[in-house]
């Protein structure tokens, strides 16, 4: 595993000529994704007029929202070398808490929303606490809580669904602001905010340091444990937020919401060029990865492919893009 880690820590020859800088920028994973997106987008738009219609684009962005929102903290976590497999279950549990707090436990709708966000954050804290305190590998910890949180959601709901929310609540997930769906605004704001956090704040930079070398980060005096705990809580919170908006859009809660979501989220992050070993990655890559997946899925659906079969393409693109990127990086290092 060690030499793979090394190759990911980009031991680029540090030459500062304009040409090599340009080359480095052009050959990043993000550029590869942009090329892929434009390429497939053009083919599909050519085949089908509706593909690039503003209605289709808007609908796609709304469908992408939940996974995109959760992909933000997932990028943070994978940059530190961790992983969170429990996101789909936290999403489902938050939705169930929201529904039953409103329907059965006598909460007001605002109270129910707060309870859902709190439940999500508490789940994230639970993950993070075990990971930093008992040093349980994140993969194992979140594998266990994937079952645990889903189990609690099942236990609370007993297979029933909750519905009958007040009208104003549906405005969150179905309304729009200045012609764009609310989801687009929320997602845009979150991406902007956390893009800045990741790139320009000491907290954001410490995540890269932790992912590159956790021991060295600790010796350098970085609050490694605190920051790791924070990003898992952040992940839980975003799952809760995604659930609040999602339930508002579909108007009911079921305990099986978000099953398998973790794989969609992780696929998008990895496709976006974030190294699964930690230490490198960007939010722009993640969002481009998601867009590529959506372009492909939507395009295939419009050209008459059967629903779930489109994931074949996602798997192929995932492996292919990592492979191509790897080859390009290796070439780059040699020259």
């Amino acid at each position: 595993m060690t030499d793979t880690v090394n190759s990911n820590v980009t031991v680029e020859p540090y030459t500062n000529s304009l040409f090599s800088q340009l080359k480095r920028t052009l050959l990043r994973q993000e550029m590869l994704l942009v090329v892929f997106i434009i390429f497939f987008g053009l083919i599909l738009a050519n085949q089908n007029d509706r593909f690039l219609s503003s209605r289709n684009v808007e609908r796609e962005l709304v469908l992408l929202f939940e996974v995109a929102l959760i992909a933000i903290p997932m990028t943070f976590i994978i940059i530190t070398g961790g992983i969170d497999l429990s996101v789909g279950s936290i999403f489902g549990l938050s939705a169930v808490v929201l529904g039953f707090a409103w329907q059965d436990w006598g909460f007001s709708m605002w109270g129910a929303i707060a309870a859902a966000l709190l439940a999500g954050t508490a789940c994230g804290f639970f993950n993070g606490f075990f990971i930093v305190q008992f040093r349980i590998p994140p993969l194992i910890m979140t594998l266990a809580t994937l079952a645990l949180f889903r189990g609690i959601a099942l236990g609370i709901s007993q297979g029933r669904s909750a519905r009958g929310f007040p009208d104003w609540y549906f405005e969150i997930g179905r309304g729009d602001l200045m012609g764009l769906p609310n989801q687009v605004w929320i997602l845009g704001f979150m991406l902007f905010l956390f893009g800045i956090v990741l790139t320009f704040t000491p907290f954001g930079r410490s995540l890269y340091a932790i992912g590159n070398n956790e021991v060295a980060s600790r010796f350098a005096g970085l609050p490694v444990r605190k920051n790791k705990l924070l990003i898992y809580m952040f992940s839980g919170f975003m799952c809760g937020l995604a659930a609040v908006v999602f339930v508002s859009r579909v108007s009911t809660t079921r305990s099986d919401m978000g099953v398998g979501m973790e794989l969609d989220v992780i696929a998008a992050v990895v496709l976006g060029g974030t190294s699964i070993f930690g230490g490198s990655g960007t939010l722009s890559g993640t969002i481009l990865g998601l867009l590529l997946i959506r372009v492909l899925t939507s395009g295939l659906l419009l050209s008459g492919f059967k629903g779930d079969a489109t994931i074949i393409m996602i798997g192929t693109i995932l492996i292919a893009s990592i492979l191509i990127n790897d080859i390009i990086q290796r070439r780059l290092m040699k020259s």
Binding site: T2, L148, G151, L263, I276, D308, L318
Partner: protein, 330 residues
Amino acid sequence: MLTSIVATPIKMGGRILDQLNQEWILAFVLVAISAVVTLMNPRFLSEQNVSDVLTNSSYLAVAAIGAAIVILAGHIDISVGSLIGLLATLSGQLALGAAEGNYPLWLAFILPIFAGMLVGAVNGFLVAYLRIPSIVVTLGMLSILKGGLILWTSGEWIYNLPDSYQFAQESIFGIRVPIYFMFGIMLITGFWLRYTNSGRAVYAVGGNKQAAKLTGISERNVVMSVFVINGALVGIASLIYATQFNAIQSTAPAGLELLIISGAVIGGVSILGGSGTVIGAVLGTILLRTIDSAMIFAQVPQYWLMAVQGVLILVTVSLDIMRRNRQLQL
């Protein structure tokens, strides 16, 4: 030297924890659960129920042995669930064709195993030779296989399978056939891992890749063969899965890969590679299935089953990790 290490003053509880390995802890938990539930409902330990629990564990345990071997070498395969679904469908379709007399029935048993090895070889090649992280490769493979299965079956189940096909429903000397497979494969792979050079090489690569290379082990070949062996075991697991009921589902049960990996991990196979046994993986899987059954007999509402499983995974794994950390500190 050794005595001074052992004599280091540590808490008594911790010391007992150090002495026991994960297999013993599991065996103890199994006995404890069985005792409690049997007191509540004596039929829990009836021959029928014990046989049911073991039979239900079998295909998962065979797949968990495969998962354990991959994890021992320091990698992971999360595509197993989809692969089991796909291979079971392949086998079922072949059996239907054989029933029409197009070709002999044994093809329905042999081809899925080869197909499993082929998928394993592709995974292994991408991981070992092209250096893509195994979690990424198998995540991609999961999507490809799952999508392929949906495309192939369009959600239709397979019925009307010939009787001679359903070997998992047979018994030999009063014991169900899948149970022989589970323990037989456990013994063979356990012996291989413990007593042969190639088996020890798996531990060596998982424990310290650099050191393994320096001792002349071809790390690439080990990783490649580990994935191929896993593919073969998943093939066998899919045959047991396909033949134990009268119909074959069109999709793999959701979350099957996590159940399989959980079995191995509860059994004490370190996710970091290099330590653990296939006996642990089998015991871990049986424990998961025992809990399922125990909850039914103790009349705990089914809805809480998954939560209990989650707590169980968490507790056993935490104990294992804490014991390892303590040993590292000594």
